[in-house]
Symmetry: C2
Subunit: 619 residues, 2 copies
């Protein structure tokens, strides 16, 4: 039974086929310990949070005939569904009787809340029953439905049980009646249901859900608008006519996922034109150096082109996850490595910072500069991010590879064993590597009854990378797949992606990064933290042409995470320095030279509170 994150088996317009999350077994010391924490700590704690905060009780209201009032925010059902999706993906790779039975219990609660017509939303029951579908713009009704559907599909794929899927189908049938071709134009102010419905079509073979997803996408940008017409709600233009990523970051990126899912099914050229233009705008003008998305706190939104403030970067963890999900879809649509490169970059540098090293605390916002007050929290009133991280960690192995007939595509690297199903049978790949801290990868091949082709992604930052097939060296072009043909059992394949420190500068129109650099080493973006700088203030660190960062393999960080060290200037302003001064009166700075330490951005804020910055001034 395939357990793909998205199941493209019968999709019309794919370049790559997704693999099951259970086809890759991670054995590394980077991801797998996090996945174990996810399974044994994070997911159970999130179930408890959903219980303690009455999120599950809201769904139980029907049992008490509505005498218990709804508590919390109107979209809180979605958190329960996302935790259920995380449980499902976890069960797909790690059967667990306790989680399995908890899941069945939760499904029973959800199913009990379903109305005779299939409708299901614990906020719009009893006293608010009459308000159903009256404010699609603001009330996240279809968004909650989308998360229910995604969880149900995941549960069906992971366990083969259809109890939850039946609930999702009945709910979707209700949505189809209301907002399908014979209903009225309808879409949610918070996209999400679109991609969920396409997945439900894939899982059930019922084309109506795909049609409904397309109806919801096409309902945007109408004249007059049905959602108010604002960019915030992605209602300013139809997706096919758009050329910027805009409005609420998570919403727009979820809409991109749904749009791409539709194209994967029907190959719509107009949709694709919009998606490509929006992707270009996203990656060439509105994305943070770490892959983060969303420049503005107000509206949790994208800014205009080149608007990328650092300390007030919003960069919601959910937006980074949404970007990973979009890249994954574009990757399967096109087979182009650039999507996998951005997916990897975003995972390490934008998703992972959202999770503490102990797996129990989360960032909602991810600034690239902070004064030390921004800290991860165990939960949030609006708790979208924690279960989003949990479901991603649970499904993570599925992102590592894809197939195409008798070809294997490796997108991500980690010590692992992969058993990938090709037309010629199941191939076993054994990867040994210390990635992401070292760019050497050894791959042993087993189980191939016939030759197959292996495509290995060369990350975008690689210079002078080398691949070798049984000793035959192949050149590597950055941000492409190196093709190794006629691979057979017993073959030895090696990759050498030399890691080096790279200082990155920004496009001249990014005013917030002007004359500043960011540090990249291999796939990781680094930052400096006050915890590592005694006798100086990290706000006063200035790099110059003498600065030469070197890897220091031993560090005092948890898990002995490699750090970088280099000499820099500490230019301390006098306490009397005025805020503004004539340029003819130079600012009085006391300058010393000092060894500074840079740590991977994803580990920041795991020690005592203190300032952090990614972009560092350069003389």
């Amino acid at each position: 039974m395939p357990r793909q994150i998205i199941d493209l088996t019968h999709s019309q317009n794919v370049s790559l086929q997704s693999i099951g999350v259970d086809e890759v077994t991670l054995e590394d010391s980077f991801w797998e310990p996090r996945r174990e924490i996810n399974r044994i700590s994070t997911i159970p704690s999130q179930i408890k949070q959903c219980e303690d905060t009455h999120r599950v009780d809201n769904l139980r209201r029907v049992l008490g005939n509505g005498e218990v009032k709804f508590e919390g925010i109107y979209f809180n059902d979605s958190d329960v569904y996302k935790v259920m999706e995380a449980i499902s993906w976890s069960l797909a790779t790690h059967p667990d009787a306790e989680l399995d039975s908890k899941m069945d219990e939760l499904i029973e609660v959800v199913a009990s809340a379903q109305q005779p017509d299939g409708y299901l939303n614990s906020y719009f029951m009893f006293e608010r029953e009459k308000e159903r579908f009256t404010n699609l713009k603001d009330m996240h009704e279809l968004y909650c439905a989308g998360h229910l559907i995604q969880a149900a599909v995941a549960h069906h794929r992971a366990t083969g049980k259809s109890t939850f899927l039946e609930v999702a189908k009945r709910l979707s049938d209700c949505l189809y009646v209301n907002f399908g071709p014979d209903g009225r134009p309808g879409a949610c102010g918070h996209p999400e249901a679109e991609m969920a419905l396409v997945e439900l079509a894939r899982e059930t073979g019922d084309e109506r859900y795909l049609v409904l997803a397309k109806c919801m996408i096409d309902a945007r940008g109408m004249n007059p608008p049905i959602l108010g017409g604002a960019e915030y709600h992605q209602d300013h233009q139809h997706i096919s006519r758009r050329d910027t990523i805009t409005g609420h970051a998570v919403r727009d990126l979820y809409l991109m996922c749904g749009g791409t899912d539709v194209v994967l099914e029907n190959g719509d050229e107009n949709y694709l034109t919009g998606l490509n233009a929006i992707w270009d705008n996203f990656t060439s003008r509105r994305i943070y150096v770490n892959g983060g998305a969303g420049a503005r706190h107000e509206g949790e939104a994208f800014g205009v082109d080149y608007e990328l403030p650092n300390s007030r970067a919003y960069n919601e963890t959910c937006a980074a996850i949404a970007s990973v999900m979009w890249q994954y879809r574009m990757l399967h649509l096109t087979g182009e490595a650039k999507y996998a490169s951005l997916m990897e970059h975003t995972l390490y540098n934008a998703v992972l910072p959202g999770l503490s090293l102990n797996g129990m605390e989360y960032f909602y916002e991810n600034p690239l500069e902070d004064n030390g007050t921004h800290r991860r929290q165990a939960w949030f009133g609006c708790a979208c991010c924690p279960p989003n991280v949990a479901r991603l960690m649970a499904q993570l192995p599925g992102y590592f590879a894809s197939t195409n007939g008798n070809s294997i595509y490796l997108h991500l690297y980690a010590a692992s064993e992969m058993k990938l199903k090709l037309d010629i049978g199941v191939i076993t790949l054994k990867l040994r590597t210390e990635y992401p801290f070292n760019g050497s990868v050894q791959i042993d091949v087993e189980g191939a009854d016939a030759p197959f082709d292996l495509y290995l992604r060369v990350p975008h930052w690689v210079k002078e990378g080398k691949a070798a097939h049984n000793g035959n060296v192949l050149a590597c072009i950055p941000d492409e797949y190196v093709a190794i043909s006629a691979v057979q059992s017993g073959d030895k394949i090696t990759l050498e992606f030399p890691f080096q420190v790279e200082l990155l500068a920004s496009h001249s129109r990014v005013v917030s990064n002007r004359n500043q650099v960011a540090i990249q080493y291999g796939p990781l973006i680094y930052c400096i933290e006050q915890a590592d700088l005694e006798g100086g203030d990290i706000r006063d660190v200035v790099l110059n042409s003498d600065t030469d960062f070197k890897l220091k393999a031993q560090s005092s960080l948890p898990g002995n995470i490699p750090i970088l060290e280099g000499m820099a200037l500490i230019c301390t302003p006098s306490p009397e320095s005025s805020l503004y001064h004539s340029i003819v009166q130079k600012e009085s700075l006391s300058v010393i030279t000092k060894m500074i330490t840079a740590v991977p951005y994803y580990v920041w804020a795991n020690r005592e509170p203190g300032p952090m910055r990614v972009w560092i001034p350069m003389e």
Copy 2:
């Protein structure tokens, strides 16, 4: 009858006495035409807006016995009161039968809405009567009361009529019963009532209102907190223990006004310690180069130290006005020129940009960089700024000078005639000047029966300024008053403040301005607008050491406003330029040299929509 903005006649702790707004008659071509527009266009249009948007109708509800529902935002009463205050100050300098009778009509409406116990708020009547004073944190109840009181005091001072003042007294008596020494601790989530109550105490001689103002200030920062304890509401600490300007910018600056008003009355040293520390933090770490206040859209709030983003600067027009009001109070408390300098700087560069040249459109937010989409509007749903500008313009002459026994202090300069009351009698000063476009001022003295002392403020940006008294030259120290003693009728006094272009840089910790400069010429901050740059994008303008801005007296701007011209580089990135690149691969820029134009920041966005920036990169 004195018509001071704040009446310090009987205050215990003053260095300077305020003058009446009718003691200065502006005759210049900069302010007075704006004041005329304010009187004949702005104020009448705002009355109409208040009528059209049911703001006045809300207060008329009592006449219909509550059958008409409240419309709009819960603090909309305050806009009516602010327009009434603007009318009052306008009547103080320009008697106008129509406005006078409109004012009487509005007072009747307001008085009719007053309850038997003195309570007055059109939102908390009828269906919400039971909710009175139940949510002081959020509902702006005392804020609305404060604006009523300020308007009533202004009306009494301007016209001598006491109808409105009696309403204010009854309302304040009601507040005193509830939140005075024998009531419960109470304060508003939006400060404003504090300064209003001190003014009411001054106007009526009733000390209870001063006591009540102090109770409201002292209710903040209690343990447990009465307003939630957040910085946003200025409830995190008592004013005397604070050392940062923080939270919602308008709220904190209004609180500073109220705190300073209390100190003007009672000399409280603890309050003063807090006020001084907060002022130092404001001016040395959190103020924009134009005097603007409020770095964050979210919470309309101050950021942390040195957080001063340009394109997303909030800089609410009301916050700039609040700062002017605070500086005016600190000036009279201390007699120190630095407060008058900041007051002038803020008026020209932070208040005035909030108003279109035609006086009919307003900015709520005032960014220092924009892509051309931010435009002034005729009104707002939350319409605090427009009537705030109108009342300030109406009372403006009062800010120009102060007295102290037989001394006159001139703070601001404009062509004008001043008739200032000293102990020796009324002195007439006639000022001729083209300020703010030229720094020469000639002052003729008339009507002095005995010698008096004249203190003339030397702006902070003046270099090699000169004052002369009947030809005797006196040196000028920037940001101090030059003292001219024994001035008599017939004396000729001249000031020469040489205007020159100054490029300003920021403190090294202001990352958003790093390697950028702002242009100042005389008292004005300049900006560049796309409208003046054909064949280039203002985002690509870079200044270098060759850039030498010169004044060009003739311009195509409305009113022939002087502009600056200078050579700069236009460094245009290639359309293919990536968002991030290794510093070893230099960004491809096509560089040309071009004459660029800078215009005063206050005139921006008065031509076609287009990008603007104040801070310009410098090589």
